[in-house]
Amino acid sequence: MRLRTNGRLVAKNRPVHFTFNGKRLQGYSGDTLASALLANDQLLVGRSFKYHRPRGLVAAGAEEPNALVELGRGDRQEPNARVTQVELFDGLAARSQNHWPSLEFDVGVINAKLSRFLPAGFYYKTFMQPQAFWKHVYEPIIRASAGLGRAPETGDDHTYEHFNVTVDVLVVGGGIAGLAAALAAGRAGARVLLVEQTSGWGGRAVVDRPSIEGISAQDWVNATLAELDAMPNVDVRLRCQGAGVFDHGYALAHERLTDHAPKQGGPRQRLWRIRAGRIVTATGAIERPLSFAYNDVPGVLLAAALRDYVVNFGVAVGERTVIVTNNDDAYRTAIALHDAGLDVPAVIDARTSAKGELPEQVRALGIKVLTNSGIASVDGGKRVTGVQVCAQDGEGTVTETIPCDCVAMSGGWSPVVHLWSHCGGKLVWDEPHAFFRPDADRPPLGADGEGFVIAVGTANGHLFTAEAIADGFSAGRKAAKVAGHTRKPGQAPMGDDVAEDALTPVWIMPAQAPYKLRSKMWLDYQNDVKVSDVQLAAQEGFQSVEHAKRYTTLGMATDQGKLSNINGLAVLSNALGEAIPRVGTTTFRPPYTPLPLAAITGVARDELFQPIRKTPVHAWHDAQGAEFEPVGQWRRPYAYPRGDETAHDAVTREVVNTRENVGLLDASTLGKLIVKGPDAGKFLDMMYTNMMSNLAVGKCRYGLMCSENGFLMDDGVVARMDDDTWLCHTTTGGADRILAHMEDWLQCEWWDWQVYVANVTEQYAQFAVVGPKARQLLQAIGGMALTKDDLPFMQWASGQIGGFDVRVFRISFSGELSYEIAVAAGQGAAFWDMLVKQGEAFGLMPYGTEALHVLRAEKGFIMIGDETDGTVIPQDLNLNWAISKKKDDFLGKRGQLRSHMVDPDRWKLVGLETVDGSVLADGAYAVAEGVNANGQRNTQGRVTSTYYSPTLKKGIAMGLVKHGPTRMGEVIAFTKEGGGFVDARIVDPVFYDKDGEKQNV
């Protein structure tokens, strides 16, 4: 119901239209969806998770557990939006969730009728027989009734962005404590970021209106903001929630940019990734509900929330509101409601007396105050119709029934300690206030061993204006000082409050409530956890607060227990007869409120998911219709199908053409690491199994690199550039990994060696010109001398080809005459084009990675990642020739001496040919007789590479076989895809040009 008075945030001359479950409704600019729904008397907004009980709004802020709705449609549909945090805009369409067929009539409510059969943890005790029923019957039923919102059906078409900032002081919370902290830090000269989750500044103070510095809280807030706005070193943001605090002063803030104004362009939300010297948490406090029977009936709200709705939005929930409390603060609600012209039949106060200033003011207004009283039970189904009053210290005997349509409850306040706690800040139990507050002596520690989070204001347990504002100011000053900003910020602002009497902790109402009442006192509204559930958990031995939480699901709903945790914990402590601080809290985990995954993702979606690395000729490959395969972040052409060729046909053509004419491979992705310095030779002798220090300038050598455990991890050709420079080629996937590996050793073990490693992979384009006509082609183009004598096999030279400055390596991974030519990356495309153009006359065709694989397999060359898998040592691959016997040491040497590594039964590399010429399956195993101790079939080998060889016109394979090299000619059985076996003969792994005549011409 909209009031004529009040409503500081809404513009009553600017109506806004929206729908709820299709019904057209009207609110005002400045409303939240929550206040607009209440203004339209739409109190019922959802259904609870387990019992499908009707749910109405309880709170006005981020702590709201009930009012979750679905917004938008199609690629903008959003489930589980919290209406208290949704700002109203024209055209907003909201739908309630978790009911069938409708919000008003939900058949799921049958669960509520059966609730006595569904106590905490009931599902652990049943649904066990028969075994197959869990998967096929019980689980599907449970799943169907689970979940809250509908799953979206498509992706999200909004954009999201990330900001990275470094600040001296991050202040979270724009209430008076946070403003004071920002003011002090800003005046001192520190770089400050102040964030506030709502759309307005001032927090509680602008609702409850204490005076600050002799002026109204609102005026003080306005003046402070004006001052902050004028400071170049201070940045302030509304709609920006401090979401999480992580180690080393890292914090996240989540800013909603256009949620409230969807027609405005730009990103929807922004994630701030913040490095802060100090984080000041001024996050306020959250009011606690009281546990009385049927406290979940729509119309029962937090007392301060009711005040917020009246003062901020000019909205009342009911006409007759009963207030129930254990503290003075809730009397403010009585006054606010009374001032707004609403009826307050009574304040029910659980304390034995209420003589504070506020209760006296309330009495003076003619409102009845009942002390030592509580609510025995709330009447009403989908809406409160009255309350039954009882003595707080009794068992719930009803003394009076008060008709009403709204109940405002207050069980005291709990500081919002989440951000303080995320990174390990500890709490103390504050007995007089009955809440946990940050323990200043045990803050989360930064790398310097100092606390890097400072809690201030109500979030630090200071419920009164004077303390809260002074606390904020002094923390801001202190935080700035840590960053070296010592300018004097002046005097802390003075605040002034009405004095309040102490509260009396009340965990259940009435204190001696029998089971009948306790089983209807809700702690967690969304998950339907009641006082009796927590007590049952304690009875069954779930004593740890974590056990009780998990057994009952208390605090596990989308509000993460902001309202329920402390109340539940107190019930548990009482049930166990332990003090509350001994039982302790559950862990506070980020994020403070649920954080959209799209915001976490930012722009890293679709094409931008990861960087795509492209060689200088990528565009050419693309234009040729190449089929690409991802190799790390690179895209490499797998093959270049022509016309209606399949990829397989293309590979065959490319292989044959390379063997017969000349092929061209874009090898630019191969890693190129420059290793330079006086100790470079010594270093490479450690990195490679073979000797690299004695490689002559101008020569190339194939090298193997092993892990410390002796396993082969990379291979490639090393070329000696000059006296103290080597160029190490790595596999495509290996460049970054091997660079890191080298740096690891240089930085951690041999930090005194003078070696410098640079990754120049992207500085050069490198192409392999391969095949019997390779030399003819290059000679036709013209340039440096490339005959067998000018540039013999396994040497390199620099010079010019076709006017390009090049470096030419005579190395071969195909068994053919081959020149690998490097040019500066910027000239790569032009050089490639020239090769293609001039190559036409020689039948040149580009070939892709698959042809590369086939060519190398025909030659019996190993491939890292195929023949190796992290368990293979060079000796397994008969590569003993590449392991230096002269060197004292190299990485892997010691590992290779271990007993299992020298075991004669290790599987070794051989060639394999099926007896019927078919292609062996990838990954096939060779079986042996019998089974092992665990009943698994014995094996004696496996396939590591397998291809159809266009050159030999049959399947060829390489594999590792027990005693393989000594079993040439033997036929063994391999598994087939889909079952069965196929016979294959053990042969020499070199299938083509066994003597290596072709590459060495």
């Binding site: 489930p79 006595r116 059969f117 106590p119 652990y124 005790k125 049943t126 649904f127 066990m128 075994q131 998967k135 799943r143 689970a146 979940g147 919102g149 979206p152 498509t154 992706g155 999200d156 992580f246 180690d247 890292y250 390990g424 089971y515 089983s519 009796s532 049952l536 009875q539 069954e540 031995g541 740890s544 974590e546 998990r550 993460q560 980020p590 994020p591 649920p594 995954l597 976490i600 993702t601 890293a604 979606r605 998911f609 991802p630 797998y638 271990r898 007993s899 299992h900 590594m901 990838d922 990954g923 096939a924 195993y925 079986v927 101790a933 698994q936 079939r937 598994t975 895809e977 079952g979």
Partner: protein, 414 residues
């Protein structure tokens, strides 16, 4: 023990549930036990359970420094599969998976084992070859797995985008009888069954020292006094190396944070478990409706049970890429556990240099699925001194170089 059943619930419903007794007792430590197990995680409790059930050894205490199941057992994303590559792994994980199938009935506690199927996506040629190899190996190991096409992937998991612009799905390794279970229930179910056999489960009891005599274990020092024992099983996951040090030997274990997160609950939209190792993320939907999401470990060692947000970002990006609809969901909670990682990423179930001390650790990022099998095998090892299932997992394998390396088949091993 009062048996759990629908009838028991109905009976209690009419007397305000006053008849339910403690699921496990609140024991004071006795001066001596035949066997002490340190660590009341899934593996420790399962070890105790099978010591009693299979070998009749019931004078057993399980000592837990915090609350039972509060370590990684209560923090994990509950994927259960046995499609491992190497024989010793496949043997113990398949043993575990098959025990999971009847565990609710065996324990009289519903652990909600849900064999809904696990798929591991291949998104590079290299992964295709790796998973096809796994299928061949599994079929010889008696583990039923198959290689499925992209079309079948889409059919089993319609919310997946199999034609993403960066890493289209090329197929998957599919284990139809893999799935998930309720992690807390596994710990609680075993604890209740152990207590029922008369074992003591002692919480809030940290082992602070190990006492030996002539190279043989004699007992432990704890925060609740000294306790003697005949045999000692150390089953403490991320703290394995810390405890081993107290007994005077070293373990090749690194402790790192592994994180996970859940979304808010939504109506069911995903019936299978999907792991995508190229992009580094995996996801399933809990019975409550939350999307349960995990990724890789942090790159540095620590004991804090929380991790860096960068990893969360990486994981979330991977999931949004693979399942675009999840971009619309919100992260409800993130957390971390300290996982115990060995050099070859395989566990250690082994005798130790101290006679009478046995270790079970190194399950790293993927030991929830192993709990029943590991407990079964560890109990046999402790009772008989040897077990075919633990043979290859001895800590001596690091000395001999006889690693059991699974990283071959999976970058992420959950």
């Amino acid at each position: 023990m009062k048996r759990y059943s629908a009838f028991a619930i109905a009976r209690e419903a009419f007397r305000q549930h006053s008849g339910w007794t403690r699921a496990w007792g609140q024991a004071e430590p006795k001066p001596r036990y035949d066997v002490i197990i340190v660590g009341a995680g899934g593996h420790g409790l399962a070890t105790a359970y099978y010591l009693g059930k299979n070998f009749g050894i019931t004078n057993v205490a399980v000592l837990e420094k915090g609350w039972l199941g509060g370590g990684n057992t209560g923090r994990n994303t509950t994927i259960i599969r046995s499609n491992y590559l190497q024989d010793p792994s496949a043997a113990i994980y398949e043993k575990a998976r098959s025990l999971y199938e009847g565990l609710s009935q065996d324990l009289n506690y519903n652990v909600m084992f849900s064999p809904r199927g696990v798929m591991m996506l291949a998104q590079t040629q290299h992964e295709i070859r790796g998973y096809q190899r796994t299928v061949h190996a599994n079929n010889l190991q008696g583990v039923t797995t198959e290689w499925i096409s992209p079309a079948r992937v889409k059919e089993l998991c319609p919310i997946m985008n199999i034609d993403g612009p960066r890493y289209p799905v090329l197929g998957a390794l599919w284990q139809a009888r893999g799935g998930t279970a309720r992690h807390d229930a596994v710990a609680w179910g075993y604890a209740r069954a152990c207590a029922d056999m008369g074992m003591d489960i002692i919480q809030q009891c940290e082992v602070t020292g190990v006492t030996t005599e002539a190279g043989k274990v004699t007992g432990v020092n704890t925060t609740r006094g000294d306790i003697k024992c005949g045999k000692l099983g150390m089953v403490v996951a991320g703290h394995a190396s810390v405890l081993a040090q107290k007994a005077g030997f070293q373990l090749p274990i690194e402790s790192v944070a592994l994180q996970a997160l859940v979304s808010e609950p939504i109506k069911p939209c995903m019936d299978v478990v999907v792991m995508a190792n190229t992009v580094h993320g995996y996801m399933s939907q809990s019975d409550k409706g939350e999307m349960v999401i995990g990724g890789g470990t942090d790159g540095y060692n620590n004991y804090t049970q929380r991790g860096s947000f960068h990893h969360i970002e990486e994981t979330v990006r991977a999931l949004v890429e693979t399942f675009p609809i999840v971009g619309r969901l919100k992260m409800l909670r993130q957390w971390g556990g300290i996982v115990d990682v060995t050099g070859d990423r395989s566990p250690i179930l082994s005798k130790t240099p101290v006679e009478g001390i046995f270790v079970n650790c190194g399950w790293g990022t993927g030991g929830f699925k192993a709990i029943p099998g590991s407990g079964w095998a560890m109990a046999e090892l402790m009772a008989k001194g040897a077990s075919p299932l633990t043979e290859e997992f001895s800590m001596n394998r690091f000395r001999h170089g006889k690693f059991i390396d699974e990283s071959v088949a999976a970058g992420v091993a959950h």
